[in-house]
């Protein structure tokens, strides 16, 4: 995961739950390219035609609440979403995103201010979000979360842990 992301912003409201991000009927699928086709289908079937690789979501409260399905994160990533700026995110979704290397930045002001369709950037090292000359700083990440992101996700991190134990 690179430390600098740039993409156009797509705005969504509060409580965008995992049922609308990836509807249950697709849960038997596992391949990213299959899941990506249905990303946010339950809320906005047109999203998949507008999103381009590298784009950023600006969302409200409790993003990703509901089911623990990691398929939601896989679908967002496969659709091209590279980062999420949220007022708040549900615990399990936040962990899933970190574990799969999809950064979720918590910053209520930025989430409220980012303009639809315009380009924005995220600097993960500085936790800085910028768009059109304005910028914001997101809440810092905990040490454990930073360690997982630095390792490139939970899979490489556990690989390291298992290697160390052997």
């Amino acid at each position: 995961m690179s430390a600098l992301l740039t993409g156009r912003v797509h705005r969504f409201g509060d409580e965008v739950n995992t049922d609308v991000i990836l509807p249950g009927r697709y849960l038997a699928l596992r391949k990213p390219e299959e899941l990506g086709k249905h990303c946010l289908e339950g809320l906005d079937p047109d999203f998949i035609h507008r999103v381009r690789p590298g784009d950023i979501l600006a969302v409200g409260r409790n993003f990703g609440c509901g089911s623990s399905r990691e398929h939601a994160v896989i679908a967002l990533k496969a659709a091209g979403v590279a980062g999420i700026v949220a007022v708040s995110a549900a615990r399990i979704f936040f962990r899933n995103a970190v574990n799969l290397g999809l950064p979720v930045l918590l910053c209520a002001e930025a989430a409220a201010s980012l303009r639809e369709g315009e380009e924005a950037s995220i600097d993960l090292d500085a936790m800085a979000i910028a768009q059109g000359g304005r910028d914001w700083t997101a809440a810092p990440l905990g040490a454990e979360v930073r360690a997982i992101l630095a390792a490139g996700g939970l899979v490489p991190r556990v690989r390291q842990a298992l290697g160390a134990a052997a």
């Binding site: 409580e15 739950n17 049922d19 609308v20 509807p23 249950g24 009927r25 849960l27 038997a28 699928l29 596992r30 289908e41 339950g42 809320l43 079937p45 409260r61 409790n62 609440c65 509901g66 089911s67 623990s68 399905r69 990691e70 398929h71 994160v73 708040s88 549900a90 615990r91 399990i92 979704f93 962990r95 899933n96 574990n99 799969l100 905990g142 040490a143 454990e144 996700g153 939970l154 899979v155 991190r157 556990v158 690989r159 842990a161 298992l162 290697g163």
Partner: protein, 427 residues
């Protein structure tokens, strides 16, 4: 220093660090790890990608085919096959599929693996159901649980605790479901974010274990990390019934620190219905009188128990499901299904014109076995009514207890259960 909540005590007893202060990060060793046919296959792939060779302790892993079981199509059959293979490859005896299992959270309660002070890590958000047993059930995604399978532990932030004090006894047709719908209505769908909900007070005695499961099940709909009931004579007897050695309940210190203390008077509660599209939008059933329904669904990990089936049968005995309405009843586990048969409940329910399914998650999450078409409305005893949860994005779901759902089946519209019970019964 202030005293400790139940959550702090249970986490501290399982933490590598030996303590668990709210807000701190601890590494927790669970007693049981639970995965299903949706979260499992992703986890097994990640487990292999981690280079793990064997899971930490096969005897403490429970794998359940419930979401897409019995398999509706080839893709789902493949996911169940992967789950079965993982069990076989690693000598995991606790693998359950149709005919022997049921919905994972209700099934786990039957297995005698979770009691006072236990911790369950589940790759499912409703793992919090274990809170009914004076245990902590904590939900995670698949990659986290792949890590737990490999290492036998996971990091987590110790939640704050919110105390919910129950007082009094509920009136007729008011159940655990109404307690939790009322709580979520009050605090909102993220009102317990980063917190554990702890239920105690004299009123818990009025809730049987099935009803406590219904309460704990929906803690996640309030955004809680987990949920836990105080233990009592009922939870102790329940452990013994399931063949577990009796262990003392974990109780909070009198001076434990809480983020908030919420009081609910059970005697003041009415049967509740949560309107779509949020479990937080509950209102008293009477408010929605006359709301037409196309489908009535009784089942799921919150309300597919014997308690619920007895309520359904009490309403349906001598009555019929209204014309133009279809009713689907799904006992949560095989054991419940068989007991309902032995008690004659299935005869009453099917004679009323309801379909009875084998245990499955099925339509609860819009998977199969009862999906809604565009424009249709359901009332369900499930836990989520998000947009499109049970099918088409333009369908809607009202959430209620089993009394209210069964009453709606007879009336063809939402109606207070006492009014349906007052209707004449066929001889």
């Amino acid at each position: 220093m202030s005293g400790r909540s139940i959550t702090e005590k249970i986490l501290a007893a399982h933490a590598v660090e030996g303590r668990a202060v709210p807000g701190s990060i601890v590494t927790v060793r669970p007693d049981v790890v639970l995965l299903n046919d949706v979260s499992g296959p992703l986890a097994f792939e990640q487990f292999d990608a981690m280079g793990a060779e064997r899971p930490f302790d096969p005897a403490r892993i429970v794998l359940v085919a419930d979401h897409f079981a019995p398999a509706p199509d080839v893709t789902a059959a493949g996911a169940i096959a992967m789950t079965r293979d993982f069990a076989r490859r690693h000598g995991i005896a606790h693998f359950y599929e149709p005919g022997r299992g049921g919905i994972e959270h209700t099934l786990l309660a039957e297995l005698g693996m979770v009691g006072h002070g236990s911790i369950v890590f589940g790759a499912d958000s409703h793992t919090c159901t274990a809170g009914a047993f004076n245990a902590l059930g904590i939900g995670f995604g698949s990659t986290d649980l792949a890590g737990a399978l490999a290492l036998g532990k996971l990091w987590m932030r110790v939640p704050d605790s919110i105390r919910v004090e129950l007082h009094g006894a509920p009136g007729a047709y008011v159940t655990g479901k109404d307690v939790i719908l009322e709580l979520i209505r009050r605090i909102g769908s993220d009102g317990a974010a980063d917190a554990a909900l702890e239920f105690g007070g004299p009123g818990i005695a009025a809730l049987g274990m099935d009803e406590r499961m219904a309460v704990a099940n929906m803690a996640v709909e309030a955004g809680a990390d987990c949920c836990v009931f105080e233990g009592d004579a009922q939870s102790l007897a329940d452990m013994q019934r399931r063949g577990m050695a009796p262990v003392e309940a974990v109780m909070p210190d009198a001076d434990a620190a809480y983020r908030a203390v919420i009081r609910i008077d059970l005697c003041a509660l009415a049967p509740m219905v949560a309107r779509p599209p949020s479990p937080a939008s509950g209102v008293a059933v009477g408010t929605l009188r006359g709301q037409r329904v196309d489908q009535v669904y009784v089942g799921n990990c919150s309300n597919g128990t014997m308690t619920d089936l007895r309520q359904v049968a009490a309403i349906l005995r001598g009555r019929q499901v209204a014309p133009g309405v279809r009713m689907v009843v799904v006992p949560a586990t095989q054991k419940i299904w068989r007991q309902a048969m032995a008690e004659g409940l299935l005869e009453v329910i099917s004679a009323a014109g309801a379909a009875i399914s084998t245990p499955t998650c099925g339509a609860c999450f819009g998977g199969h076995m009862g999906i809604l078409a565009a424009g249709e409305t359901a009332i369900a005893t499930t836990n989520r009514n998000y947009r499109g949860r049970m099918g088409h994005p333009d369908s809607q779901v009202f959430l209620s207890n089993a009394w209210v759902a069964a009453a709606a089946a007879v009336a063809g519209e939402i109606c207070p259960p006492d009014e349906v019970m007052a209707m004449e019964v066929a001889a």
